[in-house]
Structures are given as structure tokens and as C-alpha cells.
């Protein structure tokens, strides 16, 4: 395994008490593999990624337990200086909002070249040439001229390409993409997603794709981990999950997408609201919204049951869910 997150716990101190954002998340990515982490806002998907990258704001955040093993080392035990060397060079991140992730007062060329001067000690001239090469690589037209432009002079899709160029600059082993196409239009989203998938294949990188969009996931991911209230509730190869979800939350999400054959009819809607992270319900956190909930669900927190060799579901009644 390239990266293994084991039983990670993250808390945030807030005025309302301690918000338990991540509660025992375990997942892994191999090289050349794409893992999609699917969840709604507040499910802990981004916080987990920030903990892995080492960019979690502490305080108010605090990692209270678990391990993040990357290429055999537990990152959580490393010093900040060592982590900084890994960040960017060994693992890189693509953010949702490219406009605020890029520095508005530096040209994109400067920002790309900085990767090489800082991490690789290249001369400015060589680094600049590398920057142009990278922009070509992510298929930005007229890269030689545009390398001197500022982020605001690029369209949203082109900016996201620059973010991707920065992420792949030092050929990292792992890329974490946090909602990389959410801010983009559909026709541009398709272009950017395919570019990312292609680069990932070419460099045989591990890719963690964080998203709330079930459609995006279906096209590119190998495996899916569905998160709810800071836990993984289902983990499975992508095709299995769409054929027959083994957790009622996953089933609810899939059913609530408007589909061709259901048009005009009422959509299935998961009732209620996601839980407040300072007061996560006892037992299974999904039980107040679950159509299959019984008494046991209100008291016993389900472990990730093994459904098959490659699948897991954190539902006491996963068999029932699997059968529909």
C-alpha cells in the first residue's frame, strides 16, 4: 500500500463543544489506484485529507488518534520540517477553488517555477523552462506566452489545469484532489477530469478523489469509500457499489439522483438532516435517518462488516440492504 490511514480521529474545539469530525477512518490507496472518497459536507472527507497532507489547522483541529502510513513511515510522528519535504514532492493536493489557491500577485509561471527552485534547487531559468513544459503537459494553449500571465487572466478550467500542473510538477507518488471539478461547468469538468485521470495513469500515481458527485466517481474511480459523520460507512470497488449498495446511506444517495426512468415522479429523499458533529447520535450515526433502523442500531455502533473480500459495510443489516 502506498498510503494507509488507520483509525484516524480528528476533533475540533468549537464554542458548542468538541466537534468530532473524523471518527476512526481507515482507508488505503495503492500506486496507480484511484480511491474516491464520497460524502456530503461535514462528513469529514476533506478533514481526513488535510490530516494526511499535514495542512490541518491546529488549533482548533486536533488529531486525537490513528496513523497515516505513507511509503512505510507514519507521517503523524514526523517533524514539521520532514513533512514539508514530503508535501509537494511526494504527495500533492489539488484544491476546489483554484482562484484562491493560487497567489494573485505572482504570475503562474513564477508559482510553477517555485516548485523547482525550492524543492529541486534549480536555477530560475531552468525552472521557468520546466514551467512552460508543465503547462504544455496539461494542455494549456500558447503556454510560452501565458506563462507570464496572472491567475485572474485564466478561465476557471485553465486555472484548475494550472493547479494540476503544480500538483504533478515534482511527480509525486500520491495526489489528493479535493472536489477538483465542483466549481467548473460540465463541459469543462469533463475535460479536466479526463486530464487528471490520464496523468494519473501515465505517472502511475495514487489518486484520492474527494467528491460529493456520484457521477464523477463512477467514471474514474477504482474504489469508493462512502463517508458519513466522520466514518467510512461503505467501502467497495466502484461497480459493486452502483449495482447493489450494501449500506442504506449509499442506497439513499443513489436513489436520490434524478434518473431517466424516474422522471416526473417524486424523488427518493433521505429524511432528516446530517448530524451535528458535536452531538453525534449513539449507536449507528445514521440510525435517525435510516429506513432499516431497529433497536440495536440505537445502541450498537456497527463495525465495518466484511461483505466480501474487497467490500465492507458498517450496517448491522447489510444483507438486507444488499438484497434491496
Amino acid at each position: 500500500m502506498l498510503l494507509e490511514v488507520r483509525d484516524l480521529h480528528v476533533e475540533f474545539r468549537t464554542r458548542d463543544g468538541v466537534a468530532k469530525a473524523v471518527n476512526g477512518v481507515t482507508y488505503g490507496v495503492d500506486e496507480g489506484e484511484t480511491l474516491a472518497v464520497l460524502g456530503e459536507s461535514g462528513s469529514g472527507k476533506s478533514v481526513t485529507a488535510q490530516a494526511v497532507m499535514g495542512i490541518l489547522d491546529t488549533p482548533p483541529g486536533r488529531i486525537t488518534g490513528g496513523e497515516v502510513v505513507f511509503q512505510g513511515r507514519d507521517l503523524l510522528t514526523l517533524k514539521e520540517e520532514e513533512r514539508r519535504r514530503i508535501r509537494g514532492a511526494e504527495m500533492a493536493m489539488v484544491f476546489q477553488d483554484a482562484l484562491s489557491a493560487l497567489n494573485p500577485v505572482l504570475t503562474v509561471g513564477d508559482q510553477l517555477a517555485e516548485m523547482f527552485t525550492v524543492h529541486r534547487g534549480m536555477s530560475r531559468k531552468d525552472a521557468r523552462a520546466k514551467a512552460v513544459e508543465l503547462m504544455d503537459r496539461v494542455r494549456i494553449p500558447a503556454a510560452r506566452e501565458r506563462v507570464r500571465q496572472y491567475p485572474h487572466q485564466f478561465s476557471g478550467g485553465m486555472r484548475q489545469r494550472i493547479m494540476i500542473a503544480m500538483a504533478i510538477a515534482l511527480e509525486p507518488a500520491l495526489i489528493i484532489a479535493d472536489e477538483p471539478t465542483t466549481a467548473l461547468d460540465v463541459t469543462v469538468q469533463a475535460q479536466v477530469m479526463e486530464l487528471l485521470a490520464e496523468l494519473q495513469r501515465e505517472y502511475r500515481m495514487g489518486l484520492i478523489l474527494i467528491t460529493h458527485d456520484l457521477g464523477v466517481v463512477a467514471d474514474v474511480a477504482d474504489r469508493i469509500a462512502v463517508m458519513y459523520a466522520g466514518r467510512i460507512v461503505e467501502s467497495a470497488p466502484v461497480h459493486d457499489i452502483y449495482k447493489a449498495p450494501a449500506h442504506p446511506y449509499t442506497r439513499g444517495l443513489l436513489d436520490s439522483i434524478p434518473r431517466l426512468d424516474h422522471k416526473g415522479r417524486e424523488l427518493y429523499a433521505i429524511k432528516g438532516l446530517p448530524p451535528n458533529l458535536t452531538r453525534i447520535p449513539p449507536g449507528c450515526p445514521f440510525h435517525p435517518r435510516c429506513p432499516l433502523a431497529r433497536d440495536v442500531c440505537t445502541t450498537d455502533d456497527p463495525p465495518l462488516y466484511e461483505v466480501s473480500g474487497t467490500r465492507g459495510s458498517a450496517c448491522h443489516f447489510w444483507r438486507e440492504c444488499l438484497d434491496g
Binding site: M158, T187, V188, Q191, Y242, L254
Partner: protein, 374 residues
């Protein structure tokens, strides 16, 4: 140009009336750009909406789709007269309201309501939910039987909120609940037309379904016509009887839901539909065409001549640069299905023998139109 073409109203399968409630002809909005030194003068215009024709029947729900910057929100704001049109005509229930004065508009305003995208910035954080929903009635001097407060409580219940929450503030609610408050406010005046501008795109997937169901209930049970503006094609397909596709300020294709989603003719509609990542529940839905456009939408300050889509189109020929295609019913289309294209595609969304993938390295497609063909 398509000035003389009006869209037949309702062609859908549902029982909505064919009587037009809203009729928009040649609607145009240009935002001026000022520049120059020392004296600022107009140096250009953002052609946000250009010559748009649209009809919404009584009780009908019409979807308006397109990418950001295509003018769909501006169209919605023009119709609600939050913006002053540059040209064209807006007719509501037979009355021309294009340039109507404030006083003339007053009775119409209560019948056309709007639901906004962002449930956070569209509610006043210093007012209670009761005040927010009540104020449209106060402004319009409406005194429902039993008092305004009773009506507000009814509305809260109708949209699935607890009437006891009358005195709470917006920050005490989640995004989905806030959007319900927005819906309740829009319903307060018993409108006949609701312009919903991306009403669910800021919400989480599981909450989206709840709000879509609420809007659908409102539309069907209360017979309110909807202009549903969204970029999410799946939601629009679910909600709308008729759909208009916009590109760079123009309607490029309009028709009933089945025509647009199953028998599209305009290359842009094809590209848009094929770009939507769809969840494949079974293997047969893999059999969709795959089209990947190059680049982004051109600037609306200086849109391409002729057909505005030609710079990204794989079928573009010389004619497309010189002649603007009219929005007409082309051969093979059902009545009411209008397409603005000189070289329309086959009416199917099934996979082609060869994918259309435009090489982004190609800087312009203007010179060679047939790079890839099916």
C-alpha cells in the same frame, strides 16, 4: 434572425394548459463597459442575453439550462424585472411589462416571485423567519383571512418546517431548511409564476432531493408555473416539461423534455448531455455518445460571428461564421422542438462509431470544420 418566430407553448405530455402566461420575444440585455481616460465612455458591451424567445404556459414548468455565463440567470432577472431589458418584449398574461413603471408593475410583482440560489445571502440575517416570510405581504398590503401570522405558520408547515420556528433567525437553520424558507417567502403572495434560479445547486445531494420534491409538489398541487434555471441537467430533466438550452446569450435549442434529452439536434446540446457524468446502474447505459469539447465558452463581449457555438463545434463550416442560424423547427423534429443550427446532428444520444474528442492543442477550429466526424 428569429424575431418573427414564436415558440408554440406547451408541447409536453402533462395536462398543463396551452395558454401562455409569459411570453418573451427577442429579449436582449447588454451590459455596457466603460473605459478610457480621462473621460470614461462606453467602450463595449457584454452581450449577456441576445434575442431570446421563450414561452411559459400557465402551470407549466420550463427548464433553462446552460453553462455559467450563458445568460440564463440574466434572463431570469429580466423576466422578474430586476433588470431593465435593452431590447425585446416581455409579455405577462397579455400585458406588456417590458418597460413598465414601478406603479404599473406593482400588481404583477406579486404574481412573479423568485427563489434564489444561495440560501445564506438571500435571507436577511437580522430578521426572524416570520418577518422574512411576512414582509412580501406587508409590502403588497395583503391581509389574508386570519391574519398574516397565521398565513406564515401555514406556509411554514406547507414547506415542511415547524410552525413553532416562527421567531427563529436564519442562522439557526441548515442550508436545506433555509431554502425552504425561501420557497415559503416566494409562495406568500400566491404567485402564478416562480423563477427559480439554481434553487438546489448549493445543497447537499440528500437535501437536494427533498427540496426538488417540495418544488414539484408546489408546482403540481398549486398549479404554479416555473422557470427553472439550473446547470444540473438531471435535475432539470426531472422537473421540467419543456427545456431551453442556452449558449452565450442565445437559446440554441428548445423543446419538450423527451426531444431535448433523447432526440437533441444541436451539437452543443449533444456535447452538454454527453459531458454529464451519469451513474451507470447497469451496463447498457454505457452506450452513450462521448463528446469532449475543447476550451471554454468565448467572451460575451465579442461573441463569435454567425453561430456563437462554431468556435467549439466539430461540424462548423464557412456558413456558420457568416450566417446566424435561426431557431426553427428542422426536418425530423416534433412540433415545438426548435433548433438553431445549420448542420444539425442525428436525433439520438447513442454512442457513435467514433468519439468526438476535440484536441485541445488545436487553437482554432475556424479554418477546418470537419476535424472529426461521426
Amino acid at each position: 434572425m428569429s424575431d418573427n418566430l414564436t415558440l408554440p407553448a406547451q408541447q409536453g405530455s402533462t395536462g398543463a394548459s396551452t395558454e401562455a402566461l409569459l411570453k418573451v420575444e427577442g429579449l436582449t440585455k447588454h451590459f455596457p463597459i466603460y473605459g478610457g481616460f480621462p473621460i470614461k465612455r462606453k467602450v463595449g458591451a457584454v452581450q449577456a442575453v441576445d434575442n431570446v424567445d421563450l414561452t411559459v404556459g400557465v402551470g407549466e414548468s420550463v427548464g433553462l439550462v446552460g453553462e455559467s455565463g450563458c445568460g440564463k440567470s440574466t434572463t431570469g432577472r429580466l423576466i422578474t424585472r430586476l433588470l431593465e431589458p435593452t431590447g425585446g418584449k416581455i409579455e405577462y398574461a397579455g400585458q406588456d411589462i417590458t418597460h413598465a413603471k414601478r406603479k404599473q408593475l406593482a400588481p404583477v410583482r406579486s404574481e412573479i416571485q423568485m427563489i434564489f440560489q444561495d440560501p445564506y445571502s438571500s435571507l436577511n440575517p437580522r430578521q426572524t423567519v416570520g418577518t422574512i416570510i411576512k414582509s412580501p405581504m406587508e409590502v403588497n398590503g395583503i391581509n389574508p383571512a386570519g391574519g398574516r401570522e397565521k398565513r406564515v405558520r401555514e406556509l411554514l408547515e406547507l414547506v415542511g418546517l415547524n410552525p413553532e420556528h416562527y421567531n427563529r433567525f436564519p442562522h439557526e437553520f441548515s442550508g436545506g431548511q433555509r431554502q425552504r424558507i425561501g420557497v415559503a417567502r416566494a409562495l406568500a403572495l400566491n404567485p402564478k409564476l416562480i423563477v427559480a434560479d439554481e434553487p438546489v445547486s448549493a445543497l447537499d445531494v440528500s437535501i437536494q432531493a427533498q427540496v426538488v420534491n417540495l418544488l414539484q409538489k408546489v408546482q403540481e398541487e398549486m398549479g404554479i408555473a416555473f422557470l427553472f434555471i439550473a446547470h444540473d441537467l438531471a435535475v432539470v430533466r426531472h422537473f421540467s416539461q419543456r427545456v431551453a438550452v442556452m449558449y452565450l446569450g442565445k437559446v440554441v435549442e428548445v423543446g419538450d423534455r423527451d426531444s431535448i434529452y433523447n432526440r437533441p439536434r444541436h451539437p452543443y446540446t449533444h456535447a452538454l448531455l454527453s459531458a454529464v457524468p451519469e451513474v451507470a446502474m447497469d451496463d447498457e447505459s454505457e452506450n452513450r455518445e462521448r463528446i469532449r469539447l475543447a476550451g471554454d465558452v468565448p467572451s460575451p463581449i465579442s461573441p463569435p460571428s454567425g453561430c456563437r457555438f462554431r468556435t467549439r463545434c466539430w461540424k462548423a463550416q464557412d456558413k456558420c461564421a457568416t450566417e446566424e442560424p435561426p431557431l426553427v423547427q428542422i426536418g425530423g423534429n416534433t412540433a415545438g422542438h426548435l433548433t438553431a443550427c445549420h448542420f444539425p446532428e442525428e436525433p439520438t444520444v447513442a454512442a457513435r462509431s467514433e468519439d468526438v474528442v476535440l484536441d485541445p492543442a488545436l487553437k482554432t477550429l475556424e479554418n477546418d470544420g470537419d476535424v472529426t466526424k461521426d
